[in-house]
Symmetry: C2
Subunit: 214 residues, 2 copies
């Protein structure tokens, strides 16, 4: 899959690596180093230097010959390319264990999204607060998406409820969906959906175990 | 990335789709349908029929011309190929919100792994039970991996602790690692590691939001 806009087409694996470079550059902030080369980044993270250079060039930064990139500029360039400069508000639907784990996930800080509220249908959870975010009744989901102009929803409800929730979200104006429910969701072509199917990842691991460690 | 053994090389995207076919076939169990074609599977899941046929052929099942596959046999063939017939014992390290979410994740049932215990270093969590699984002190992790001959570990500790935990696990005999900590781990070539970096997934979504919904 590739993610494209008018200017740049970047393959998904490159896009997935950019945050890893960003994390690495952030860790260098406290050091005295001012410049870094692709080879050094690659060596530290165990990647191929040519691949690192290609990935970084998507952000349109220009390095200096024999010196490499100014670390501060490179960090900003990646951050800007990923859209992490202006954080986007998001709703999370399904305040089960996974939902609450995501509400508290520190990796999201400074990563372009701000989960402002969560939703559930369990009366015991409604109105409670986790990690500073209030859980609302899912019955007002559509209304709040609309009123607050929310474009991104994170779906952590059980599989049988996922399609109907997504239908409401899209009808109310959501354009991008991050789906953790273990099922295939039908969405119009205009909607961007990213599935995180843990069972699919598991297939890779169990197949490996089957092959090598019978 | 491809996952290979002596007989079959299957690309990772194909391997990731097989559990989706399996889930779909399971949902047909209660119906009267006995046979199904690749085209029907593809239509129901929104995939390309040629791709579905190719994926399924990796499991070495043979379909019947004009009839398709016997659903029961196809389900068994996928299950066997994925190594989901004999569940493998696993340890989970890090009983934070994400760790506990994974302990209770129902998608793992019948999916080839059985998380038998979890580990943490927080005295308040040690000896408590979540979803029927006991939390042990991480200080005895190596000892228990060794004694119980555990080959798979799931890492849900914070990034700064991940490398030292993984070093202990590998030294004690673990061969396959499912890493949810948002960092790059150094492991020997003989160890298979699958990273689930949520920040990387997020990059795909935020880039999309930046492109299309400024």
């Amino acid at each position: 899959m590739t993610v494209k806009n008018d200017f740049t087409i970047i393959p998904e694996p490159s896009l997935r690596r950019l945050p890893l470079y960003y994390d690495f550059l952030k860790r260098l902030e406290t050091s005295d180093i001012k410049f870094i080369s692709c080879t050094e980044i690659a060596q530290n993270l165990g990647f191929n230097p040519i691949q690192v250079r290609k990935d970084i060039e998507y952000t349109e930064i220009i390095g200096r010959p024999k010196v490499g990139y100014n670390i501060k500029e490179l960090k900003l360039s990646i951050k800007d390319f990923l859209g992490w400069n202006n954080s986007k508000d998001a709703f999370l639907i399904g305040a089960g264990h996974l939902g609450i784990a995501l509400l508290g996930y520190r990796g999201f800080m400074n990563s372009g999204i701000n989960i402002i509220s969560a939703f559930d249908n369990d009366p015991k959870k409604i109105d409670s607060i986790f990690f500073g975010k209030k859980i609302f009744n899912v019955s007002i989901l559509g209304q709040l998406i609309n009123r607050m102009n929310i474009k991104l929803c994170i779906i952590t409800v059980p599989a049988p409820s996922a399609q109907s929730i997504v239908d409401i979200a899209i009808k109310s104006g959501v354009k991008v969906i991050w789906n953790f429910a273990p099922c295939i969701l039908n969405v119009p072509d205009t909607i961007f959906i990213k599935n995180e199917n843990l069972t699919s990842s598991l297939a890779i691991l169990t197949r490996k175990l089957k092959d090598d460690f019978k």
